[in-house]
C-alpha cells in the first residue's frame, strides 16, 4: 500500500473517478491549467482536457449553480470552492436549490453533485482564509456534509460522494492536506457516507472530533495514555447524516464526553452532538458534556498572537481530558 498525504489521496480519487466515468467533470477557479491553489487538481487538466477540468470565471454562485443544472441533466459535476470563506456567494444555490430540488420535485430530479471545499485555520490565513463553515450547512436537510481527516477516508469518501445521487459538501481541512499522511490501498474501495469511525478505542472518555482537530485529539489522547487515562477518539467523518448510533454506543461505554471542533462554539456542530447525547444517553453520563471550540469572534484574527489564542490545541484538549477524567 503506498503512503501519501491527504491532498494526494483526493487527487487520486478524482483521477480514478474521472477515468472510470466520463460524466465526471470538475469546475472551479484555476482548477485547470494552474491545478488549483492547493494543487489538488494538478495534472488532471493535461489528462482530461478543458471540457472536463474547467477554469471558471470568478463567480461562485454560477460555479455551483451551473453544476446543479448539469447534475440534474445526467452529469456528475465536482465543483471546487477555492476556500470555504468564499462559499457565501454560492450559499443560495446550495441551500435553496441543491438541497431542495429532489424533495420539492416529488422525487423527479436528483442532484448528484459534489462541492469540494478547503476549510479551516492554523495557516496564518487571517479572517477570510481560515473559516470553518460546517455548521451552516449541516443545519440543512437534503445536504450531506462530509469531513474526512485521513488520506484513506478522504479518497474512499470522495468516491462515495461522487457516486451519491445527492448533493454532498466535501470539506477538506487545508492544514491536513500535506500534514497528514497515511496508507491508501491500490485497489478500488469506498468509505461509505454516514458511519463514524473509532480512530482510537478507549474506556474512560469519548472524544468526538473531525478534521484537523481529530489529529489534535489523537495527540492529546496519547499524552493522557501515558498518564493512565484511556481515551476513545471517534472520528465523526460524516456530519450529516450523523451516525448517532456509534456516538451513543461510545458514550454508554465510557460515560464521559468531550466534543472538539475548530469552528466557534455558539451554534456550532458540537452543540448538536451534545444535545443528542443529553437526550438519549443522559443516564449513562458520569460528568458534564464538555465542548472545546474556537472563541466566538467574527473571524480568525491575523496576528500570530491572536491566532494562537483562537485555535484549540493539543494542550488545551489534553487539559480538558484531564479535568474530565478526574471528575
Amino acid at each position: 500500500m503506498p503512503e501519501m498525504n491527504l491532498l494526494e489521496a483526493i487527487r487520486q480519487g478524482l483521477d480514478e473517478a474521472m477515468a472510470a466515468d466520463p460524466r465526471v467533470f470538475i469546475f472551479g477557479e484555476d482548477v485547470g491549467k494552474r491545478g488549483g491553489v492547493f494543487r489538488v487538481t494538478e495534472g488532471l487538466y493535461d489528462k482530461y482536457g478543458p471540457m472536463r477540468v474547467i477554469d471558471s470565471p470568478l463567480a461562485e454562485s454560477v460555479i455551483v449553480g451551473a453544476c446543479i443544472g448539469a447534475a440534474m441533466n445526467d452529469m456528475l459535476p465536482i465543483a471546487e470552492i477555492q476556500f470555504a470563506d468564499f462559499i457565501a456567494p454560492a450559499f443560495n444555490q446550495i441551500v435553496q436549490e441543491a438541497a431542495r430540488i429532489h424533495y420539492r420535485s416529488n422525487g423527479d430530479w436528483e442532484v448528484p453533485l459534489v462541492i469540494r471545499v478547503p476549510y479551516g485555520g492554523g495557516i496564518h490565513g487571517a479572517l477570510y482564509h481560515s473559516q470553518s463553515v460546517e455548521a451552516f450547512f449541516a443545519h440543512v436537510p437534503g445536504l450531506k456534509v462530509v469531513t474526512p481527516s485521513t488520506p484513506y477516508d478522504a479518497k474512499g469518501l470522495l468516491k462515495s460522494a461522487i457516486e451519491d445521487p445527492n448533493p454532498v459538501l466535501f470539506l477538506e481541512h487545508k492544514k491536513t492536506y500535506r500534514l497528514i499522511k497515511g496508507f491508501v490501498p491500490e485497489e478500488d474501495y469506498r468509505v461509505p457516507i454516514g458511519p463514524a469511525d473509532i480512530k482510537r478505542p478507549g474506556e474512560d472518555i469519548s472524544v468526538f472530533a473531525y478534521g484537523l482537530m481529530l489529529h489534535y485529539c489523537l495527540e492529546a489522547a496519547q499524552t493522557l495514555a501515558a498518564e493512565g487515562v484511556s481515551i476513545e477518539v471517534v472520528d465523526l467523518r460524516t456530519l450529516r447524516p450523523l451516525d448517532t448510533e456509534t456516538i451513543l454506543a461510545s458514550v454508554r461505554r465510557t460515560g464521559k464526553v468531550l466534543i472538539v471542533h475548530e469552528d466557534n462554539l455558539f451554534g456550532g456542530f458540537g452543540g448538536e452532538v451534545a444535545a443528542i447525547i443529553a437526550e438519549h444517553a443522559f443516564e449513562y453520563l458520569d460528568g458534564p458534556i464538555v465542548r472545546i471550540g474556537g472563541p466566538d469572534v467574527p473571524a480568525m484574527p491575523f496576528a500570530h498572537s491572536l491566532e494562537a489564542a483562537f485555535m484549540p490545541s493539543p494542550a488545551s484538549i489534553a487539559a480538558a481530558m484531564r479535568r474530565l477524567a478526574a471528575y
Binding site: L58, A59, P89, H129, F302, L306, A309, A319
Partner: protein, 357 residues
C-alpha cells in the same frame, strides 16, 4: 496589453515640476515598499497571504492624485499602495503586514484588510467583489446627505465576473450615485486571463447595458490615469453619473507572494516587466524633459530606501496585539452576555493547557 490612445499635450502643461517629482517619489515608494514587503515575507516576518502592487504604481498614484480629501476609497486585498498613496505613513502599514498592534488595523487584519478612518480609506476586502456594493451604498449616502466627494470602488479585472459587480452597476445608475468603478486590469485573476474569464474582455464596456459610461486608460501612465479619474470624478460628483475606468497594467509577479506564476510564460513576464514598467517609463520622460536629473534620482532613491527601512524598523520594534483584546470590537457598544477580557485570558490559558475546564 491592450492598446490605449495617447495624448499630445505638452508635459509641463499637464503638471508642475513639483507635482511630477512627487508622483515619481510616490511610485518609487510603493515599488520599494512592495519589494521589501516581499523580502520580509521570505524572512517570515509576514505570514499568510500577501499581494503586491508591483507594476501598478502609476495606476495607484494617478488615481490618488485625482482624488480629494472628501473622497472615499474601497479596495480589494491588493491595497498596500493605495493606503500609502492616500497619505497613511508606511510604518503603520508595514506594521499591519507584520501583524503588530501599531498596524493600521491593530494587527487583526494583516495585508488584505487595511483601514484608515482619517483618510476615508474604507478598507481592503478579501472576499472578491465584497467591496463593490458597499461603495455604491456609501455613494448614495453622500448624495442623500448632499455632501461633496465621490466613492471609488477599486477592484481587479477578475472581479468584474462576479454577480455583485453587475448588481452594483445597476443600482449605481438607478440611484445616480457618485461612484467610480475603478478596474485594475492587470491581465489576470490569479491564473485566469481576462480573455479566459470574461466573454467581454474590453472591461470598460461592461457598463453598457446599465448605461454606464466606461473608458480604458493606460495604467502604466500616471498622468493619463490621473486625468481620466479627474474628468470622470468631476462628472460623478456634479451629475451623479457613475463611470467605469479600466486601467490596464502588467502584473510583475505571481498573484501573491507565494504564487509561483507557472501558468505564465517566463519570457513574456520578463519582457512585460521591461515594457510596462511605469516607473522606468516615467523616469525616462522626466529626464527627457529636463524635469529631473541623475543627482535628483539618486537622492530620491536614497530617501525612499530610508523611509521603507524606517517602516520595517517600526514594524519590527512594535508589540504584538494583546490576546486579552481578542473579543474587543466585536460590537460597537458594550453588549451584555458577550465574552469579556477575562474570557479571552481564559481561552488562551486553556489553549496553552494552563487552565482546567
Amino acid at each position: 496589453m491592450a492598446e490605449v490612445a495617447e495624448t499630445t499635450q505638452p508635459l509641463l502643461e499637464r503638471a508642475t515640476v513639483d507635482e511630477l517629482k512627487h508622483y515619481y517619489y510616490q511610485m518609487l515608494l510603493l515599488r520599494r515598499f512592495e519589494e521589501r514587503a516581499g523580502e520580509m515575507y521570505v524572512k517570515a516576518k509576514i505570514g499568510g497571504y500577501c499581494h503586491l502592487n508591483l507594476g501598478e504604481e502609476a495606476t495607484i498614484v494617478g488615481l490618488m492624485a485625482a482624488l480629494t480629501p472628501d473622497d472615499y476609497i474601497f479596495t480589494n486585498y491588493r491595497e498596500h499602495g493605495y493606503i500609502i498613496a492616500r497619505g497613511v505613513p508606511p510604518g503603520p502599514v508595514m506594521a499591519e503586514l507584520f501583524g503588530k498592534e501599531t498596524g493600521v488595523s491593530g494587527g487583526r487584519g494583516g495585508s488584505m484588510h487595511l483601514f484608515d478612518r482619517k483618510t476615508n480609506f474604507m478598507g481592503g476586502y478579501a472576499i472578491v467583489g465584497g467591496q463593490v456594493p458597499l461603495a455604491v451604498g456609501a455613494a448614495y449616502a453622500l448624495r442623500y446627505q448632499n455632501k461633496p466627494g465621490v466613492v471609488v470602488a477599486q477592484m481587479g479585472d477578475g472581479t468584474t465576473n462576479i454577480g455583485a459587480f453587475y448588481e452594483s452597476l445597476n443600482l449605481a445608475k438607478l440611484w445616480k450615485c457618485p461612484v467610480l468603478f475603478f478596474i485594475v486590469n492587470n491581465g489576470y485573476g490569479m491564473g485566469t486571463s481576462v480573455e479566459a474569464g470574461s466573454s467581454e474582455p474590453d472591461l470598460w464596456k461592461k457598463g453598457a447595458s446599465f448605461r454606464i459610461y466606461g473608458e480604458r486608460v493606460d495604467g502604466t501612465d500616471v498622468l493619463a490615469v490621473r486625468d481620466v479619474v479627474r474628468r470622470l470624478r468631476a462628472r460623478a460628483e456634479a451629475e451623479g453619473e457613475p463611470a467605469i475606468i479600466d486601467a490596464v497594467s502588467f502584473r510583475f509577479r505571481g498573484h501573491s507572494v507565494i504564487d509561483s506564476d507557472r501558468y505564465r510564460d517566463p519570457e513574456a513576464v520578463r519582457r512585460g516587466r521591461e515594457l510596462y514598467d511605469p516607473i522606468r517609463k516615467f523616469a525616462t520622460l522626466l529626464l527627457e524633459h529636463g524635469v529631473i536629473d541623475d543627482a535628483w534620482l539618486k537622492a530620491v532613491t536614497e530617501r525612499v530606501e530610508r523611509e521603507v527601512q524606517e517602516a520595517i524598523d517600526f514594524a519590527n520594534n512594535s508589540p504584538d496585539p494583546k490576546f486579552e483584546d481578542l473579543y474587543k470590537y466585536m460590537y460597537a457598544t458594550p453588549v451584555p452576555n458577550t465574552p469579556t477580557t477575562e474570557d479571552a485570558i481564559r481561552a488562551v490559558k486553556i489553549n496553552h493547557g494552563e487552565f482546567d475546564v
